[in-house]
Symmetry: C2
C-alpha cells in the first residue's frame, strides 16, 4: 500500500513511517519541520538527539534496508499539498501535520491564531486536494480524546449520537468541549470533516487518541533511528516529562490534585494501532470514528508508576503537586468506549508499569544534554493569562 504521512518528521510520524516500511508499505513523508522550529522557539529540544530528515532516511536504509521518499513543504499551502498528492497518488494519507501542543496554543494571541490557521487550513486543503486527485483516498486523521473534555456520558466511538433534549429526540454530533485553543482546532477539524463526508462522501478514519509515551518501537533499534522525545512544559506530555524529571533528580510535577484521568498508550502500541487502521481502511464514503488508548490512568497513578520505575534505576523520585496551569476538572467521570481497534485484532503489548523503567533507562545517557533545558520544565504557560512569558 502506498501511504503518505503528513508530519513524518514528528514523534509519531517518524515512528509510524518506520513501522509501515517494516510492514512492506511504500511510504512517502511530508513535513515542514514546524515542530523542530517551534520547540527551539520556546528554548527547548528533544531529550534524545534526533538526526535531520535526510540523515534519518539514510539511516533507515542502512540499518533496515527501508526506502522512503520525502517532500519538504507546508500543507497550509494548497498548491504544495495538491502537487504532492498528484505526483505520489497514495492510497492512504495520514494527517499528523498539525500544531500539537495545547500550551503552545495558549502562549498569546499570535500562537492561538497560528494554531487555528495551521490546523484548520491544513485539513481543509488536504480534503480539497484529495477530492481533486482521488476522491476515494483514505484519510487517516489524528484527532484527540481531548476534543471530548471530561463528559459525564460514556464517550461512544461514533461521530453521531442519539439524544433527548427537552423531550425531543435527535441525532447530534457526539458532544465535545475542548480545554485549549489547540484542542478546539481538533474539534473544528472533526466538524469540518463531517461536512465533507456529508456533501462529498469522503473516506476518513478520525482517531481520538490519548497521550502517547515512550521512546521505542520495534524498529527503533539504533540511536540513529530515534524519534523525538519532548519533555518541556510546552511540548512534553506528562509521562515523558515525569521520566525526564526522575532522570534529573527533581520532583515529578503533578498539576493540581492529580485526579485528572486520561487514556494513555505507548508509542509501540500507537504505531501498531495506526498500522491496523491503515491496513483495514474505512469503507468507501465512511467517516469512521476510533477511540485509541490502552489504559485509563490518573496523574497520581502515573506519578506513582514513574516513581516506582525510577527506584529500579536507583533514583529516589519525589512527587510534588503544583498549581495547575490549565483550567480543567481534576475529579471527573471518564468512560470512553473502545471497540473498533479490538475488533480489528488490536492487542496492546505494553502497560505503563512495564515500560516506565525502560523509558527512564533510555533517557539516562542524555542526562547532561537534558540538564541544559532544566528551566524549561516548570509550567510558565498559564491558561488564565493572555500573554505568557516564554
Amino acid at each position: 500500500m502506498k501511504v503518505m504521512i503528513l508530519g513524518a518528521d514528528g514523534y509519531l510520524g517518524w515512528a509510524l513511517s518506520l513501522r509501515l516500511m517494516a510492514r512492506g508499505h511504500d511510504v512517502v513523508g511530508v513535513d515542514n519541520f514546524a515542530t523542530r522550529k517551534s520547540v527551539a522557539e520556546v528554548g527547548s529540544d528533544s531529550a534524545i538527539p534526533i538526526l535531520g530528515m535526510e540523515d534519518r532516511i539514510k539511516a533507515a536504509k542502512d540499518i533496515h534496508g527501508f526506502k522512503m521518499r520525502f517532500h519538504e513543504g507546508d500543507v497550509t499551502r494548497y498548491e504544495f499539498i495538491h502537487k504532492a498528492l498528484k505526483e505520489e497518488k497514495p492510497d492512504t494519507v495520514v494527517h499528523f501535520a498539525e500544531q500539537r501542543s495545547a500550551p503552545y496554543s495558549m502562549i498569546n494571541a499570535q500562537h492561538a491564531a497560528y494554531t487555528m490557521q495551521n490546523n484548520i487550513v491544513g485539513t481543509i486543503n488536504l480534503i480539497y486536494a484529495m477530492m481533486d486527485v482521488n476522491p476515494s483516498m483514505h484519510v487517516v486523521k489524528m484527532a484527540t480524546m481531548g476534543e471530548y473534555g471530561t463528559p459525564n456520558f460514556d464517550i461512544p466511538e461514533s461521530a453521531f449520537v442519539e439524544v433527548e433534549i427537552n423531550g425531543k429526540k435527535d441525532r447530534i454530533t457526539t458532544p465535545k468541549f475542548a480545554g485549549s485553543w489547540y484542542h478546539w482546532t481538533k474539534v473544528h477539524d472533526t466538524n469540518n470533516l463531517l461536512l465533507a463526508n456529508k456533501i462529498w462522501k469522503t473516506t476518513v478514519t478520525n482517531i481520538f487518541q490519548g497521550p502517547v509515551y515512550g521512546t521505542r518501537t520495534k524498529e527503533i533499534t539504533d540511536e540513529k533511528l530515534h524519534t523525538r522525545c519532548d519533555f518541556d512544559e510546552v511540548w512534553g506530555t506528562v509521562v515523558n516529562r515525569f521520566a525526564v524529571e526522575a532522570v534529573l533528580g527533581i520532583p515529578l510535577t503533578a498539576y493540581g490534585a492529580g485526579g485528572q484521568i486520561r487514556g494513555y498508550l505507548s508509542l509501540e502500541d500507537s504505531v501498531d494501532a495506526l498500522s491496523l487502521l491503515i491496513e483495514n481502511p474505512a469503507q468507501k464514503g465512511e467517516h469512521r470514528t476510533v477511540n485509541q488508548f490502552v489504559e485509563l490512568l490518573s496523574i497520581n497513578e502515573i506519578a506513582e508508576i514513574v516513581k516506582k520505575a525510577a527506584k529500579k534505576e536507583g533514583i529516589d523520585a519525589k512527587i510534588d503537586h503544583i498549581e495547575n496551569p490549565r483550567v480543567e476538572a481534576d475529579k471527573h467521570y471518564y468512560n470512553p468506549e473502545v471497540k473498533v481497534l479490538p475488533g480489528l485484532g488490536f492487542r496492546p503489548k505494553l502497560k505503563m508499569s512495564d515500560l516506565a523503567a525502560q523509558l527512564i533507562a533510555d533517557l539516562l545517557p542524555y542526562k547532561a544534554r537534558i540538564e541544559k533545558f532544566r528551566d524549561r520544565i516548570m509550567p510558565h504557560t498559564r491558561w488564565t493569562r493572555t500573554e505568557n512569558a516564554r
Copy 2:
C-alpha cells in the same frame, strides 16, 4: 455609550452605525472593505449604489449631523485591532467583520481556507485584544441561526443544554450542525468564545440571527445614505434576490422544493434589536445567547409574498423551482426559542408582507444598473462541486 463596529461598511454594519448615532452613541467604524472587493471578485455589485466610506460619513454628517470616526484595517492583523481598541477604548465592540457568504466559502479550497482563517482568527484577535485593553468590554458577536442547521429539537436561547445520552445526563453545548464552511466558521467562533468565557470570564452577546432583508431603516432617508444590497447567487440572501428577480421580470428562483424554513427579519428590525442588545449589555462575565428573527417562513411562502408584492408594482412574477445548489433538507422541523429580545422590549415593526412592495419599489429605479449583472443571479456555486466556476 462608545461603540466600535467592526465591519461598519457592510449591509448591517452601516445601517447599525447610523442607528446608534441617531440614538446618541459615539460610533467608531472599522472595515477593510473585504465585502466590496469580494463582491467585485465574483463579477457583481450592490443593486443600489453606495458611496465610499469617506463620502458616506460626510453624508451622514450633512444630512443628520452625525459624527463618526473610522479606522481602515483588518481584524486578522492583531496589532491593528489591538491599537484600534487601545486608542478608542469603546464600551462595546460589535463584531461583524467576517466573510458572510456561504456560497463564497464553497467556491473552492482557497475560498474555504480564506473564510476559515478570516473569521476564526479575527474573533480570536478581538478577544485577546479586548482582554488586554479592557477585559470587561462587551463584545456583541454576530453568529447565525445557520449554526444549528435544522434540528428536531427546539433550539433554546442558551449556550448549553441538558441532555441524556445512553442513560447518562450531562450539560453540553447546544448541538450544532452547519451546512457550509462559512456556517461552520461561525460554530467554531461560538465554541472558541465559550472557552474564552470559561477561562477569562469574557462578556459576550452571541447573536444567532436569521436572514435579513430590505433596504431601509429610519435613518436611510437619502440615497447618499443607502447601505449595500446584494442579490447575486454568491452574496444575495433570498428575499433581496427574489425582489431583484421581480424587478428584472425574470422568474423568482426557489432552490429545490422550497420547503426550507428559516427565521427572517427586516433590516429595520435587525438594527432595532441590535441597539437593544447593545444598550442592555450582558452581565459582566456572562456569555449571553440570543436568537434574533421575526417570522418563520418557508422559501415557498417568501416567493408568494414577493410575487404578490410585485403585482402591486405592476409586475407579473413567476416562480421557478430550480435544482438546489446546496445540500440541505427541504422538509424539516424548525422551532427556535425567542425570549431574550422580547424580554428587553423588542417589538417587531414590520412583516415581510408589509415590506416586500417597498423593497421592489426601492429597487425599480436601479433596474438598468442591475440588468448588467443579470448573469450573476442563477446559482453557479454548487455544494457538491469542489471547484466552482466564478
